[in-house]
Amino acid sequence: MKWWPFKRRNPYPRSARPTREGKAFVLVTVGVGIAAVNTGNNLIYLMLGLLLSVLLMSMLLSEIALYKLWFSRTLPVRAFAGESTRVKLHIENQKRWFPSFSLELEDRVTEMERAGLCFYLKIDRGDKRRATYRFTPSARGYLRFEGYRVRTRYPFGLVEKRRRVDEEAEWLVYPAPVESSLGERLGHPHGESRTQKPRVGTGEVAGIREYRPGDEERDVHWRRTASLGTLVVRERQEDEGAELYVLLDNRLPEAPTEAEAKALRDRFERTVSEATGLVMMAHARGFTVRLRASGVEAPIVGAGQPLDPVLRFLALIESVGSDAPAPSVDARSGRKILSLGGDANLPEQAA
């Protein structure tokens, strides 16, 4: 029979451990305790009571400091692998009476890995505070945040109380853009003489659509935004520009050994990075970017439109077996085709 008839509530898993000062304090307390028992001196017992009560209060108050805290994070809209970026962490102290002092908030990518750490000296009751940390994602794809770990040594610095807050979140990291040798063959959509970036999205307004990450601020339709209460942007008919087809060969042959497999994977990742660099360069020059891989195609991104659909495609692209069909495209007039990856980089196919 269980001694406690109710279901145990532990919504906030937490732990405590003594700090360096706390260990010294405990040592002194034990010494005083031994002296008290040995001598029977009541004043030493009194002292022992004081030291123990300070320890108890330290445990209790650190618990209060971690109570009723609300956390959130703001991730940047775009992040590229290997590129440092700022992540904002917010804490809201929802306690009605007490401020919280001396809080360290850890953002956890996995159980063992810390993405960043922010320190908050004081958060008044009902107040919300923000702090930022720099973080460099190491690889493309979804980065999974496990949650937060908040800890405090308040009030006496004797005990460090930690609380784990599980709040999973995913963050899509784009591949690191790497300059490709194919960039030299890219040229300009309106001839070689054009050196300046064209004014994108200068066509007629075709309609209004919801804001998507990557949209330019100047395209926000503020009047409609104000009336609808949500961000909307003007969608324009794009200028007829040259299309760039990037063919990304994502087929990987079977590798007999683990080392070779790794080398192939690294090469594939390098290719994806080059593709990223290439599409970014092309997009900046005003190409309509079309990206194809084996059996799949990224959404078409016109000049002036946000490139994020293509970057998202590149962030998530996986390799396929070598028996899959190679990406291809019909060579037509006005199309520029560049191929990346695979055993044989196809030569530029221009009509």
Binding site: E21, A24, V28, V32, A35, A36, V37, N38, T39, G40, N41, N42, L43, I44, Y45, L46, M47, L48, G49, L50, L51, L52, S53, V54, L56, M57, L61, F98, F101, S102, F119, L121, K122, R153, Y154, P155, F156, G157, L158, G229
Partner: protein, 722 residues
């Protein structure tokens, strides 16, 4: 006040309390103490960049090492006590830290040193001063630890950053981190800390093993109870208000007399050499404890004897003072390793009692007293001769004694001599010492000065009686007793030390006090300061009894008291329910009466507080989201008349239904619904005027729902329609 200044103040209060704790034991000499306090004040001004210079730090390191070497040398070559040198060095270390306040780590070291000083003081003193310092620590410790911790965090987290030094300085100059409210709230922590400390103090099992013990205070020095006493030893302390004995008679009336004359016998002297009294070196015999009592004449008899509880302060002579007519004593045993050890009492042939196992904590005991004459004693010829010695030729005194005593029984003669000295008017009590030079002090007193203090009077009577063949002895003790209304006891101070005579007449020792009654008028002054002194003494008495002398026995009786109270409380709750005989026996203890009025007042208070909190919550909620409050009222009003909004029905659909039903306040309802939608989904913030309009509208809806005529469709109708 900014953070850094606040931290400095708190640190200094903490350090000062620690240093003061060190001074309580009396180990620090006055010059050292003076230097210490001057250095403490001087260290306040030690601030600035030079504290971080290498030269300054190195010099201080050498000074600390040098001071240590000096203390070791003093111990080896001058033989100075190790404890005093250690206490001095502990104080010096704190001062060195105060002169080196560079950062949080230094402040934390100061805190640790101050706590160690407080711990050290536990073996230096048991005085009430320790209680004061301890309370100061209870209050200041939360401040000190919290503020030091925050400073540590500031330095750890910002110092390493780019421009961290400036950022740290900016935070330390900030007035926003800690303020009055912070200090008040942190100060309030001392309340739970104190309560937990008190609880732990009560609960720790008192099983002192006694492997290592430290000597305590030697106790007050009280003249007159050693092996000899020189004529002129008393009187000078007549003004000393230091309490030596606290007496609580068990038959204390509801309004006790402000003064009583308790005659507490201490010791006696039998030989007089012309200037000093001495006591014959006789072996004292241990007083055997029988059935929990130390019988002096017989076992105590409950109906016959009155009981007097006495608390004796530690004094340099371990004399047990007993009132006249004492027949037995009860002395609680000491607790050692959780076991009771009977106290060791010894009695000399002259009736002097001493305790042999002094521990610097004084003695608590009860004396059983009967108001009957002391029993007859037989003195041998040798003993009689011993009590008749007058040290040389005393013809002039003999002549005076014969003249004063006249003819009659020895008792009558003794009374005449007593009256001659105390009531004839020839002699006066005075604190002034007669100037005797090389002459016999007694003859100067009797024939020239005719004034002196009690010792002169008792010596004069003892010698006068001896010259006419009556054996006498000079007795010292305390006479007096001022009622302390704060503590509920009579206090006898050092100033109540007295000397009188015991004469062997009619086969027994009888007490005679030849000192004029005016001596009782001398003594510590009354008035405001006497009141303060009484209050402090009551506090000190409680401190000694409840804290310093708290042992396993006290712990067990405290638990028993709690158990008794709990049983009484349970009995109260059971009320008039029938109880078995055994249960009745169990509950035969003073019951706590549960007054129904108090209970009612308590319940009412709880209800009122709950209502007040509810009201507060509602107000806050209204202030935070007035539209939610209005919409809640709107929906409740409609629900009351059966127009509840169905699950899945939007407020607008619900409104359309109301309109279809011909709800009289449909316009107001539409206003509320639209406004609610704008606030809830459009993020609109209402102006105060709009809030008022919404409230007015919902009032209309409430009124219409109560009084309006409209048909509410029956559920069965709806089903049929479906």
């Amino acid at each position: 006040m900014n953070f850094a200044r606040m931290h400095k103040w708190v640190t200094y209060v903490f350090a000062t309390a620690g240093l003061y704790a060190l001074t309580l034991g009396g180990e620090l000499t006055a010059p050292f103490q003076a230097l210490m306090w001057v250095a403490l004040v001087g260290s306040w001004f030690a601030e600035g960049a030079y504290l971080r210079s290498d030269v300054y730090v190195k010099r201080w390191t050498w000074v600390v090492i040098g001071a240590f070497v000096l203390q070791v040398l003093r111990s080896f070559f001058l033989g100075e006590p190790f404890l005093a040198l250690g206490v001095e060095y502990a104080a010096f270390l704190q001062l060195s830290r105060l002169f080196n306040r560079r950062g949080a780590a230094d402040h934390q070291q100061i805190a640790v040193l101050a706590l160690l000083h407080l711990i050290a003081a536990t073996i230096l003193t048991t005085e009430i001063g320790y209680a004061v310092v301890f309370l100061a620590f209870v209050v200041v410790t939360p401040w000190m630890l919290t503020v030091s911790h925050l400073r540590r965090e500031i330095e750890d987290h910002y110092q390493a950053e780019k421009g961290g030094e400036e950022r740290v300085n900016q935070l330390l100059r900030s007035q926003r981190i800690i303020g009055g409210r912070f200090l008040a709230a942190t100060g309030l922590l001392s309340v739970p800390i104190f309560l937990i400390t008190a609880l732990l103090f009560l609960l720790f099992p008192r099983v002192g093993m006694g492997f290592l013990s430290f000597s305590r205070d030697k106790g007050q020095q009280v003249a007159g109870f050693g092996d000899d006493v020189e004529l002129g030893g008393f009187g000078v302390i007549r003004d000393d208000p230091t309490v030596v004995l606290r007496i609580t008679p068990n038959d204390l009336p509801p309004n006790p007399a402000p003064q009583m004359s308790f005659r507490m016998r201490g010791t006696s002297f039998d030989s007089y050499d012309g200037r000093r009294w001495t006591r014959a070196a006789v072996e004292s015999s241990p007083l055997r404890m029988q059935h929990g009592y130390y019988p002096l004449r017989r076992h105590p008899s409950p109906g016959r004897d009155s009981v007097v509880a006495i608390s004796l302060e530690p004094i340099d002579e371990n004399v047990v003072f007993v009132p006249e007519g004492a027949v037995a004593l009860r002395v609680p045993p000491r607790m050692r390793a959780g076991l009771p050890r009977a106290r060791v009492l010894k009695r000399a042939p002259d009736g002097e009692l001493r305790y042999a196992d002094a521990d610097g904590l004084g003695l608590q005991y009860e004396v059983f007293v009967e108001r009957e004459p002391s029993p007859n004693t037989v003195l041998t010829h040798v003993e009689q001769a011993h009590y008749l010695g007058v040290a040389g030729e005393r013809s002039r005194i003999t002549e005076l004694a014969r003249r004063v005593a006249g003819e009659g029984t020895p008792e009558l003669q003794a009374k005449r001599v007593e009256a001659y000295l105390s009531a004839s008017g020839e002699f006066a009590y005075s604190l002034e010492q007669p100037r005797v030079g090389d002459r016999d002090p007694l003859e100067v007193f009797l024939f020239e000065a005719k004034s002196g203090h009690c010792e002169y009077f008792s010596t004069a009577m003892a010698i006068m009686l001896r010259t006419i063949g009556i054996p006498t002895r000079n007795v010292t003790g305390f006479v007096g007793g001022r009622y302390n209304s704060y503590g509920g006891y009579y206090a006898l101070s050092q100033g109540d030390a007295h000397s009188w005579v015991e004469a062997y007449v009619d086969g027994r020792w009888q007490t005679f006090d030849p000192t004029p009654a005016s001596w009782g008028q001398e003594g510590p002054s009354d008035g405001f300061f006497a009141e303060v002194r009484a209050m402090m003494d009551a506090l000190r008495s409680r401190w000694d009894n409840d804290i310093v002398d708290y042992d396993l026995r006290s712990q067990m009786s405290a638990f028993r008291a709690i158990l008794t109270w709990a049983r009484g409380f349970r009995g109260t709750l059971q009320g008039g329910a029938e109880q078995s005989d055994d249960a009745k026996k169990e509950t035969e203890v003073p019951r706590m009466r549960l007054n129904p009025w108090y209970l009612g007042a308590f319940v009412l208070t709880v209800v009122l507080v709950a209502l007040w909190r509810q009201r507060l919550r509602t107000r806050r909620s209204r202030a935070k989201d007035p539209m939610a409050y209005v919409f809640g009222r709107y929906e409740r009003a409609l629900s009351r008349v059966g127009l509840t909004r169905e699950a899945g029905e939007t407020p607008r659909e619900h409104l359309a239904r109301l309109v279809a039903l011909g709800f009289p306040a449909a316009e107001q309802a539409a206003f509320i619904v639209e406004l609610h939608a704008q606030v809830r989904y459009g993020g609109r913030v209402l102006a105060a005027e709009e809030v008022q309009q919404a409230k007015a509208a919902v009032t209309d809806v409430e009124t219409a729902s109560r009084t309006g005529r409209f048909s509410v469709p029956d559920a069965s109708d709806e089903k049929r329609a479906a």
